[in-house]
Symmetry: C2
Subunit: 341 residues, 2 copies
Amino acid sequence: MTHLTIALDMMGGDNGPPVTIEAAVLAVKEYSHLHLILCGDSDIIRHGLESYSDLPEKRLEILHTEQKVEMDERPSSALRNKQDSSMRRVLELVEQGRADACVSAGNTGALLTMAYYVLKTLPGIDRPALISSLPTSGRQKVYLLDLGANVNCDSEILFQYAVMGSVMAEEVEGISKPRVGLLNVGEEQIKGNDQVKHTAQILSSVPGINYIGYVEGNDIFTGKADVVVTDGFVGNIALKACEGLGKLILNEVKRVSGKNLLTRMMARLALPILRKIYARVNPDQYNGASLIGLRGIVVKSHGNASSEALLYAIKEAMHEVDRQVPTKIKHKIETLLMERP
Amino acid sequence: MTHLTIALDMMGGDNGPPVTIEAAVLAVKEYSHLHLILCGDSDIIRHGLESYSDLPEKRLEILHTEQKVEMDERPSSALRNKQDSSMRRVLELVEQGRADACVSAGNTGALLTMAYYVLKTLPGIDRPALISSLPTSGRQKVYLLDLGANVNCDSEILFQYAVMGSVMAEEVEGISKPRVGLLNVGEEQIKGNDQVKHTAQILSSVPGINYIGYVEGNDIFTGKADVVVTDGFVGNIALKACEGLGKLILNEVKRVSGKNLLTRMMARLALPILRKIYARVNPDQYNGASLIGLRGIVVKSHGNASSEALLYAIKEAMHEVDRQVPTKIKHKIETLLMERP
């Protein structure tokens, strides 16, 4: 297998280096062709690595940076003032071609802003999108985008999102002719706001996209579509509302467990199953969201992620490198722009 | 207690008269001061009532209508062509002051369109909203609006929604100075689209609203706010996404129950609890959503509702009559419009 290089933001995330270091070690031990560039405070990283034995040191390159982007820092301030940060460095390594992809568990807003500035968007793409896969009751996952990269999207941007989501589903998930749905308040043609109606017109006119029409909020989880497209405002709120509901259900089960012996027993038995299901339906916890539409691969792991979750994000990045997602998006959008009437 | 009259759309809902008749009977038996006007096909209603004994017939008035609005009928067609429908009649009874409120489990879009046409909005209110209460992990419920009455809302309309939600929380739920949050993709001032930012400015300038700032999707269920305001596009999608997730979790538990003896046992024990919780977090199933901002009280029960759920919607309507919700909204908006700079 050919060599593959990923730049890892070691300072990002709520839990910082202890978690990022463990994830890095797990990753290089699992994949012998993986080379990691660990960006961050070199003393901390070196010290952290000392507690592991049998490390393939040649595949764990450390790149020192003086700064780190704080989790609550304003994106504009991070962009201006954190030019020697671990987050900035991993993006620059991708831009310079020294890394095939980068992964960060840091501040999402700062990562979005910096990635857009450092990597720029692909030709034909106006704005990057944050995309993640979610479970469905069907056999396959569904890709939902945008999860919050852009809160003001016109129909042209939504069209580009449909193209990008389609490429992700086809290349990463291996779905042939992925069914693309547009998130709306009803399935009828007359429903929705102007932005959605206009996007539907564009998508219907392009044979290269398998557009299946409007889908409703509940359809996200039914497997009706392989890709669900919406703007970052709606996508972010829908995803977070689901996260909130998941937590509420867990809390409710805990609450009833105090009531009487029977419910207590039942709830205690139910909790492990529920936690497992919650982890599966809460992509933030187990998965990385990808920032797509850029001239490089950027995977965002949840700030509160464990080393296993961060490892998952590294695997996601490796998979996108393998499938050459940015190149595929570039080709697809070029082809479709020629198809459009 | 004073006499209270509610007009009930007997033909609405997926299950039709058998369910609406049972709900009507349950309601008049539970509340001796309740008078119901049953609108619909008088033969069917009379025949349906025959299977019940000891009915307070004087409090069950039947009003014959020739037509019914179909569940999949286009709202514009229902408005034009169904002037002698049970749905239209219940709204007219409210408009004429013959009923204090009306309840329908029929086609939501048609009900919205007809109610807006027949009842008109209150002075100071441009558009009605669909509102419902949801459970939280806190002690109190949260009111979420708009759930889909208007997909294009400017900041003026969102301000009016904040006022209406505040009145509902105060009058119906009994919360003093309800905390009003504006749904957004982040809590920071700089987040969000222009519409949300402008609404935040308006809400911050009005002392009569206890505006607590932006809340995120997951905050809907945490009890952080008593009222969460958003436009009908976002509210509808967020609510339905939660409904979809709830169903997915139920299905997942059923699925794992086939795996081995232990998970099967655990899942079977967990299912009843989960179903109960799902019913609690799925407002469509147990509750009525109210159409507010009109010169009259309109409660919408879920189309697939059972007689118990429809009874719940009737109680909700009775409660809103008791608290004089439309009058309170009218006074509140008048006061606040004077407060505004």
